[in-house]
Amino acid sequence: MEVLCLEDFKIEVEKLSKNNSYASLEKELIAYFFTKTIEELRSGTILNNSLENSFIKKRLEGSGGFRIYFYIIIRKESLYLMYVHPKTGKYGSDNISPKVRNNLLAKVIKAIKTNDLYLVLPDSTNTKLNFVRR
């Protein structure tokens, strides 16, 4: 399975990882997204009533005490990381609005069409993520 992401997601992860509150974020991402089958990754809140092209909101509780929500799309053999927002810590924020959610969906559709995506890979120590432009 390929794990891909939007540029916005890459920027956000890089920003959050620099903050002590979310120091273990990349490790948690690797532990969650790179060790599971597609079926297991479908756990979470499916927002669009579709099992073929699931738009999922997933909550993760970091070992560092932070709580974080991911918006992902699973289609065919690919997982698209779209957006991440912490609920707690310095950058903690509330749920996103339906309008922002629609914008995200539009953004990922455009990125898939134009192949404006990053391939996300864990580094050799499984603690950091590498983002490779496709």
């Binding site: 479908r42 809140t45 669009n48 009533n49 099992l51 073929e52 092209n53 738009f55 629609n102 969906l105």
Partner: protein, 161 residues
């Protein structure tokens, strides 16, 4: 017999006796005050421990319920006959979230004014926030997004890629 008619030795004995009695009363009073204070402190600490245990149990129960509740979003396609039951579930979640927020505020006041560690209280607050957020998401998924034309159009487009 008054002090006036007793001799000096007797007067001294009387004074010593009174002083001793007075001291006894004072010591007993202090001991009783100390015991009472200790008992009240112990009772208070017991109540705090009970409150922390309650918050811990409630958080664990809510956290256990969240993934189970999320699973209903995998009921695909949406079964219209289940919508009233889902609506009732959402209302119950909202009701629990509201009462839990009041519980949080209650304990937060007590814990803050007594400088008590808030680890359990913070975890409880997060669980309640997640519960509230999931209730909002369920409302969106089953009742709002199916009517949201833009969302439906985008999903169709995603499916056609």
């Amino acid at each position: 017999m008054s002090l006036m008619v007793v001799n000096r030795n007797q007067q001294k004995e009387r004074l010593d006796a009174i002083l001793e009695a007075l001291q006894e009363v004072t010591v007993r009073g202090a001991a009783s005050k100390e015991q009472d204070l200790e008992k009240r402190t112990n009772d208070f600490l017991d109540q705090i421990l009970k409150a922390k245990e309650f918050l811990k149990t409630q958080s664990a129960k809510i956290n256990e319920l969240l993934p189970q509740t999320e699973e209903i979003t995998a009921f695909i396609p949406i079964n219209e006959e289940l919508l009233p039951a889902i609506e009732e579930l959402i209302k119950s979640m909202e009701g629990l979230a509201s009462s839990s927020i009041r519980t949080y505020a209650h304990y937060n006041r007590i814990f803050t004014s007594n400088s008590i560690d808030k680890a359990e209280l913070k975890a409880y607050k997060q669980s309640v926030a997640d519960l509230k957020e999931l209730a909002t998401d369920l409302k969106d998924i089953f009742f709002v997004l199916p009517q949201d034309e833009e969302f439906q159009r985008l999903n169709k487009e995603l499916g056609a890629l």
